[in-house]
Every structure is written in structure tokens, then in C-alpha cells.
Amino acid sequence: MGAAVNSGHGTLLTLAGFFGVLSLFAIGGGNSAVPEMHRFAVDVEHWLSDRQFADSFALAQLTPGPNIIIVTLIGYHVAGVLGALVTTLAMCGPPGVFAFFVGGAADRFKGAMWHGVLSRALVPVTIGLTAASAAVVAGTAGYGWMAATITLGTALTAYFVRVHPLWAFAVAALLGLSGLL
């Protein structure tokens, strides 16, 4: 394992193509795209193992900044620094251009009927996608009873009280370190 496993132009093109297309399907935020990233990077291309994918996800959560930064880690893992840059640009570029034009036009369409229809139609899809992401991440992180307990415990705690993610991560990391996982 390690970075720069393969940095041929073919791999860079595959990275750019896949994440460029994926970026436009990431409705409701970056986490919606996590299952598709896993399917492609782990199951189809075998760029990473399940464990490496879960680790990348965890590291992206621990890195300050938008969580979408997981794509940078995957790109780095596959093709080094160049891969990281290509992947990040592919993931951010298309939605950025899209947002630029829609944002400019949004004021004119404010309150339009399709706006309400579209947001009402997309909310349940986003919920389903987020649930799927949780399932994929939990599945790759490990099936042990300790992992399941941490997942459920965090879910219940975060549902009923406001917790800062870092506290949850710190407790979970310590539990992990304690060797119970």
C-alpha cells in the first residue's frame, strides 16, 4: 500500500472522469456520494481495501474543513499529490460552475413553484442517501459488537443532545485504542 501506487495518465483520467461525474450526482452534500465512492474505489477499481476506505473517511472527518475532502485522500492514495489535486478539482469544479450560474439566476426565480417541488422531492432522496452512507461506513469500519455499540451510542447521544463531533470522535478513538475493537 502507500501513495503513488500507480500514477499513469490513465489512472488520473479515470479519477478525473469518475469524480467529475460523481460530483454532479452528490445531491444534498458530499456525504451523499460516499456509497458510490466506495462502490467504485473499493469494489470496481480495487484502489483501496474496505479498511483503508473507512480509515480515509475517518481521517477526512478529523481534518478541519469540508468533509468532501475525503476525495482528496482517495486521490492521494491512488496517484500521489497529482492524484489528490486532480480528484479535488474534479469533485469541486463541476458543482462550483453549476452553483455559480444557478446562484446568479436564483434571485430571479425566488419563490417559483418548481423550487418548492424540487426541494420537497429531493429531501427524502437526501435522507435515503445519508442513511446509505452511514450503512456503508459502518459496514467498512468493522462488524464487531464494539464498533456497532459505538455507532449506536453516538447516534443516540447526538440525536438527543448537541454534541460537538470532535468529542464524539475523541471518545470513539479512545475506545478503539483500548483494544476492544
Binding site: G2, A3, S23, L24, F25, A26, G28, N31, P35, E36, R39, R51, Q52, A54, D55, F57, A58, A60, L62, T63, P64, G65, P66, L73, Y76, V81, C92, P94, P95, G96, A99, F100, G103, V117, S119, A121, P124, I127, G128, L129, T130, A131, A132, A134, A138, A141, G142, A148, T151, T154, A155, L156, T157, A158, P165, A172, A173, G176, L177, L181
Partner: protein
């Protein structure tokens, strides 16, 4: 640009921090404008905060403003995460690190579950079955059957839009 500061202070998502900076500290937006813009970003494809930075940057300084804001947001974490990736490439197999990361990933999955539960509450209260059915169908086809995302969305999004249209 101030987006760099936001991105670095935001662990596990930057929404709360960006709101604090844009509304409370710099007064670039009113609370209503923030909510409106955020709602728009949430249903555009791609990272919500990234879209936010593009739209806000564009509003102040056009295309260059958008590029500056997006780079400010993505630049620092990009550099940081490359360093983290390099460290992981060397020490990723150390058992202690592996166990800690497994714990973090499990907790992150839990946080997402909590988000799902919070988001789903109004959906179930609305009294219609379509919303929950669509949410569950999306979850099952992506999360359990592992079907390709573009394929699933190409079917589910039109169905969901049609359902929302009918209910008008």
C-alpha cells in the same frame, strides 16, 4: 479571504462556523439571507459549503470572487489532508492508529444516523407515505443493494418529483 479561517475552524463539517462568521461577525448576510442561500445550496449538487462559498464570492466579486472563496475554503484543508495522507501511507498499518480510526469511523456513521433521524422526523409527521417510501427505496438500493448512484438517481429523482408535483 475569510473562508480560509472558516474552513480551518470547522471540524466534522463547517456549517455552524460559516454561519457565525458570515452572519454574526462580518455581517455579510442577514440570518434570513443565510437560510435562503443555504437552502439553495443544499439542493444543488456537490458540497453545500463549497456551493455557498461560490455563490457568496460571486455575489461580491463575480467569477474571481467565486474562485477566491472556493480556493480559500478548499486550499488549507487540501494541503493539510495531503500531509495526513502521507503520514497514513507510512503508519496506516500501526495497530493503535488502525483501532482509533475504526472507532472514529464508527462514531461518524453514528453521527450520520442521528442526522438521518432528525431529518426524517418531519417527513413522517407530514402524513404522506411517498416521502418515507422514497427515502427507504433510496437507502435500500444504494446502502444495501450497492447499485450505482447515477442509475438509482435517474429513476428515483423523476419519480419523487412527479410525486411532489401531484401532491401540490
Amino acid at each position: 479571504m475569510a473562508f480560509a479561517k472558516v474552513s480551518l475552524s470547522g471540524f466534522g463539517g463547517v456549517l455552524a462556523w460559516s454561519r457565525r462568521m458570515m452572519v454574526e461577525e462580518r455581517r455579510w448576510l442577514t440570518a434570513e439571507q443565510f437560510n435562503e442561500t443555504y437552502a439553495l445550496c443544499a439542493f444543488l449538487p456537490g458540497g453545500n459549503i463549497l456551493n455557498f462559498s461560490v455563490i457568496l464570492g460571486a455575489r461580491f466579486r463575480g467569477a474571481w470572487g467565486a474562485i477566491a472563496a472556493a480556493s480559500g475554503l478548499m486550499g488549507p484543508p487540501l494541503l493539510l489532508v495531503i500531509c495526513i495522507g502521507a503520514i497514513y501511507a507510512h503508519y496506516g498499518d500501526v495497530p493503535a492508529l488502525r483501532h482509533a480510526l475504526t472507532g472514529v469511523a464508527s462514531a461518524a456513521a453514528g453521527l450520520m444516523l442521528a442526522t438521518v433521524a432528525k431529518m426524517a422526523r418531519p417527513l413522517f409527521r407530514s402524513g404522506t407515505v411517498t416521502g418515507p417510501v422514497i427515502a427507504f427505496a433510496t437507502f435500500a438500493s444504494i446502502g444495501i443493494a450497492h447499485w450505482p448512484l447515477p442509475l438509482v438517481l435517474a429513476v428515483i429523482v423523476p419519480v419523487s418529483i412527479a410525486a411532489a408535483w401531484v401532491r401540490l
